[in-house]
Amino acid sequence: MKKKLPLFFLLFLGILTVEAQSRVSGKVTLNGDGSALPGVTVQVKGSGKGSQTNGEGNYVIEAAKGQTIVFSFIGMVTKEVLVENQSIINVVMEESLSQLNEIVVLTALGLERKKDDDVSSSTLIDASALKRSGESGVIQSLSGKTSGLTVVRNSGDPGAGAYIQIRGQNTIFGESSPLIILDGVPISNSSLGGGVDGVVQQSRLNDLNQDDIENVTVLKGAAAAAVWGTGAANGVILIQTKKGKAGGKKVSIEVSNQVSLDHIIREFEKQTKFGQGYPRYWISGASREAYTFLYDPNSSFSWGDKIGLRSGAKDDVRAGNERFESQSGNVYYPIQQKNSKTIYNESNRDQVFQTGFTWNKSVGINFNSNAGSTFFSFSDWDQEGIFRDNSTYRRTTLRINNETKLSEKAKLKFNTTFSKIHSDRIQQGSNLNGLYLGYLRTPADFDNRDYKGTYYNPSGVATLNAHRSYRKYLGDVAPEYNNPGWTIYEQENPNDVSRFILNPELSVRLYKNITLTSRFGIDYYNDVRESYFPVNSAGAASTGSFGRTEMTEMNTSFNTFLTSTHVISDKFNFSWILGSQFESLKFSSLGGGSTQFTNPYVGDLRIFGNAIAANESVGLSRQASKKSGAYAVINAEILNQVYLEMTGRYELPSTLPAAVFYPSVSAGWVFNKYLHFKPLNYAKLRASFGQVGIEPGAYLSSTNYGAYDRGSTWGDFLQASNYGNPYARSSSAGNPNLKRELVTEYEVGGDFRFFNDFITIGTTYYNRKTTDALLPVNLAPSSGYTSVWRNAAEISNKGFEIDAGIRLAKTHDLEVRLDANFSKNKNMVESLSGVESFFLDGFAGASSRVVEGYPFAALWGGKWQRDGQNNLILDQNGFPLPSTSEGVIGDPNPKWKGGLGANLSWKGISLSVQFETFQGNQVWAGTSGILKYFGIDPETANEFVTKQEMKTYDGRTVSTGTTVRGNVANFGGGNVILDADWYSDLGGGFGPVSEQFIVDGSWTKLREVSAGYTIPASLVQKIRLNSASINFTGRNLFIWSPIKYFDPEVNLTGASKGRGLEYFTNPGTGSYVVTVKLGF
């Protein structure tokens, strides 16, 4: 139900000029509860005269006898009344059954417009479609629901941010995600962090309570977004929150209670045949011992002895002083001989994973009075993740949206929200302290459960809080990788966010049809992140490490615009908007760290100062940018069939030396009446041209000097501050002559409806090009700089989008709809001005890059050596050789993607399913390469007897009849043996050839399936309720994908522009959700 007071209609004032007028007045009410309807357009048919109802639903209009008065309002069936002798005409309006010609979208300034009058490819998704999914984030619930929008969950961690992209990627260095406009003002959508290690970070968009959202509009095209100028290059997502309902009950309350269970959807398989250790050959160098396997309790490998051949007795141990006593009381002595056949894969799994649990409670309250209305909400989202400890997300939100009529001419809106979030995160990725790294590499015959205890050395001296893991099974010193138990129980990564968003809006009718609207927005948050590694954590944190960063960001905006509508005749009307805007961003990050604790027993204290001065560090970074702009929009409607829109924005960002102008023009033509083709009841063609921009980052104009630390890619480094804090000129050269990045887009499309709206089709073709894209152009390091900022790149996105719907049934009780969408985007990095590639994210050996002549974020890494015919060049043993140079090895962008949804509602019952698919994208499956290296991957546990003499990678000749652990392959030079020497070298994930781990990452997901029941009003009213409903949803329950061992959506580098990288990334999840709602 839409009972809104859009500004657009407030402006709709007629010009009265005709004779023989009489004054007609009356009240417009809603059928059902009889509440007054304000803002209803009241027009005299064929005259251009118009009025509208006031706050009490009353209207006055001049009309002559015999004329017809038309009452119209969005969401209502238009009503016509013939004027005879009445002077009072009261009208009861009925809600329309969501007629398609009544669908609205929001324009870039947040004003409502009928979809049929709109000349862009914008789409609106309303709250019911968003809420079914039961996601914690608003954006995640959009995935699959409209064409042209990509939403990817990078991880199943609670509250994890999502990657959002409209059409294709436009910029290398600018913001990657769309501009988010909440109730007319821009808000922060930062996802700070997202490298190859650390923890999965949240996105600030998740701070909003999804129960507060009324609808979301996605502006895909540049023309539609052009009034936002710089910043709108990635499209705009407009979010409108609920407001108090005018009319109806004075107070109404809705209480919602939601419970969901999360589980891992894909897991890696680990071999169970061979134990910890390696071939004896690796020690002795004797080829005859290549398939004699040794158990070694501190080895990193699972290339050890065959577990099934062990005696099965207890392990022979040296029971003496040296031992590890776990906190559970178990004692471990040095192993002399491994006899046990026990496999621990299951218990090691259960040590770490659980079923995640979420309980979300929310209350929404509506108040209304003659002067205005108020919406109040409170919600508490409390989630425990799939890891057994320290993986939580708790979000508490409060919102008050008030709308008050100050006078006949002035209205004040005040929307405000507060969010408080506490979250605990788990370390992941390429990270000695990360969960999956230690977990997946653990051999099948090692029991991870006793991870902490006391180590006694041979003289009986105790080390407290010793850390036991498979590479240091007695916990004598800190291990190379964490025991997963240590990772989740002992390390801490808490994160606290507080956020306010305030946006007051005042609109005043200044003169006749001119209205002034002023919006002010403040979005402020404070994000405190800590990371704590106790003494004896793996790697560099073995002596303890504590870090804390406090970030604050404040976005303020002040936007004032005049709007006016002029109805010249019933064949021509136009409206205009003239506005100005001031935006400001301030960010600061203050952080510190202590490493090498002087007191290792810190208990619950998380403090600085527990280290010598040289091991204490502090850092401060600030950023400020501002932007001022003026804009104008003109809309015209000609002959009720041609729609024109022109916008222009003149803007001066602080990051640029000169002002920029962004124009756009769009046109649409509704032409079905000329076709005389009955089945086609609506047809519109539209075309647009628009330009938007991206400003350079702050402070890129100057070259800096800093006390840079220098290190190798292996982590060893020299810290300048310990050596007198010397300064160097930055290797990145500043450039004072930078321009904005310019995105120019042409878009053509059509909207068609057949058989009286039975079938709906919307299609759009777009061609957008980013020119002058900023790039830190790699300079040859021999020039003295490694990079300089330049407007050097050109990126194009061409694509085709279809949204189609079939309304299979529509009666008062029953509605059945099928909706499908399809998007195909062809992205191309047209030019990098000679730079071969630019690193976005990833590793030295496998990364996601921008490469000239390839799609954005192409996967890059080591390749095989090939000849002119693309055949592998083999060494004398018949194995391929690594190429000396790296190149493109894959494309993480889907060839096409789509969504398919079905909805059925019958009386109180609703059923829906939603599928989403990505096809033709590739992923670098980094984890499986590493698991092959360690001999964990099931492929490496194969055993066979050789039927012929074959060579191995290290040049051994294996005679016929040898039992080999490994596989046979033929690279083109005859059969060869892939054994431990192959997998631990060129054939494994630590070798230089990443090409072999590129896999097809296509997927199709049953995104959600949901069933709900709304108890009939007649029943619930007996127990003094207004409404009651229950809903069951399953999310991400099935995946169809060639990737079996991880959720193909996960991305190591989070919501960053680096895509398609998987490396010990925390797993994705699926959920079962139950929601109960009660209205009072």
Partner: protein, 431 residues
């Protein structure tokens, strides 16, 4: 309509008048400096020099010369010489943009402080000299002049080596008789001039100009503990780089399992000149299959690492004397080293009595053992066509890698890039 027009004009007037002043002065970097004095920059040049001698280049050199064994992960591949261009990016970037570029800034700004200028020249000479020794032809004349030469041309190896000599000559003029010092180095009792002469000797040796190498080594580092050694402590960011790599970052990646050096030291493989004292030395170098990272180990957390020192000077002198026919002087220089080793490690380091080719091989072998982890060992093996018979680890090759591959970063961005050269192709001076 007049009122409407006035409203619009007023609106435009107010908003446009504020446009410019609103954004003025915002884009000034609040986080970083835009200039620094040369006295402060020299330390960064020294950091680059230490990185070059002690970090990844030294690990590659040690693996290629079978002093060390790549034992785990990527280093297993390196052990069979499986390297790609990207593996050499950080070394190259360190030499040029972190090193030579900063050294040039010091030289430009240090007009009034000649000693500082001389120090920067010495550091630049090490960076450029090692670059050309490792990579062959490299940019020098046009390097680190970004405005003039965004795409520096590659100079012939012999020209770069000659330019390094000229630069060191200038440095010697500038430094006078000052004692060497620097934030990155332990206290030294060598003068900068002595160090510069030893460096001249080193780069003459690399150019196979033995006569000049001899002349320079004679006036090089004179005191047994003189030279440049990196300064390390147990503070994070100041730790020995081998220690950081082997203990903190990449435990188990690089060991000495079955390495040629370890076999020589343990006696598993006989040395050309029997050295019982190696048993003592081995305890300082190694801890079983690992490098010795313990206190007092050669790679301890606070162990200084030699950049250039007396041992190198003596061993250059010994070889240069031998190759210019001065056997007696060569033997003396060599035995000076042996005598000193006996003092340092205890045990017996017998003197040599060899002559001719065997003497040269005694010298080279001692240099191979004494200068563990040094790039100079790698230069020697290649220069002498592996005269002391280092094992080749790859069954398909007769040679150890003859050069570092040009880095991917240079290929990506330099239009003057001459193309990749295979790792087994000798650099021009060694052909």
């Amino acid at each position: 309509m007049k009122i409407a027009r006035n409203i619009i004009l007023l609106f435009l007037g107010i908003s446009l008048s504020q446009c410019k002043s609103f954004v003025d002065g915002v884009n000034v970097n609040p986080n970083q400096f835009t200039d620094a004095p040369p006295e402060l920059i020299i330390g960064q040049v020294e950091i680059a020099v230490v990185m070059l001698n002690e970090s990844q280049p030294a690990r590659f050199a040690g693996i290629f010369t079978d002093q060390f064994t790549g034992f785990d992960r990527q280093f297993l591949a390196y052990d069979s010489y499986n390297v790609i261009s990207g593996d050499f990016d950080d070394t190259w970037t360190n030499i040029y943009s972190s090193g030579i570029a900063q050294a040039r800034i010091v030289q430009e700004k240090a007009d009034k402080n000649l000693v500082l200028k001389g120090r920067a020249q010495i550091m630049e000479a090490i960076l450029a000299g090692e670059a050309t020794a490792l990579y062959g032809d490299v940019p020098y004349v046009q390097s680190c002049k970004p405005l003039e030469f965004p795409n520096p041309k590659y100079d012939a190896q012999k020209d770069v080596l000659a330019a390094v000599q000229t630069l060191l000559d200038q440095a010697i003029q500038n430094v006078g008789t000052t004692t060497a010092s620097g934030a990155l180095f332990t206290a030294s009792n060598a003068t900068w001039a002595e160090i510069a002469h030893t460096l001249k000797a080193r780069y003459y040796l690399i150019a196979k100009d033995y006569a000049n190498a001899r002349t320079q080594a004679l006036i090089g580092i004179s005191k047994v503990n003189g030279g440049l050694h990196s300064l390390h402590t147990d503070v994070t960011g100041q730790k020995n780089l081998f220690y950081q790599f082997g203990i903190e970052q990449r435990g188990g990646y690089m060991t000495v399992t079955r390495s040629h050096l370890r076999k020589l030291i343990t006696g598993e493989r006989a040395r050309l000149l029997a050295t019982p004292g190696d048993a003592n030395r081995g305890e300082v170098y190694f801890d079983r299959e690992e490098l010795n990272y313990f206190d007092n180990g050669y790679f301890a957390v606070n162990a200084p690492f030699p950049i250039v020192n007396w041992y190198e000077n003596q061993l250059i002198l010994a070889e240069a004397q031998a190759r210019t026919g001065n056997t007696t002087a060569a033997v003396t220089a060599f035995n000076n080293v042996r005598d000193r080793l006996a003092v340092v490690y205890g045990g017996s380091f017998p003197r040599t009595t060899a002559t001719g080719d065997l003497l040269i091989r005694h010298i080279l072998e001692e240099k191979y053992v004494t200068m563990i982890g040094s790039l100079q060992v790698y230069h020697d093996i290649r220069r002498t066509a592996n005269a002391i018979g280092i094992p080749v680890k790859l069954s398909t090759s007769k040679l150890i890698p003859q050069r570092f591959i040009y880095p991917q970063v240079e290929k990506n961005a330099n239009t003057s890039f001459p193309g990749f050269v295979d790792i087994f192709v000798q650099t021009p001076v060694n052909k």
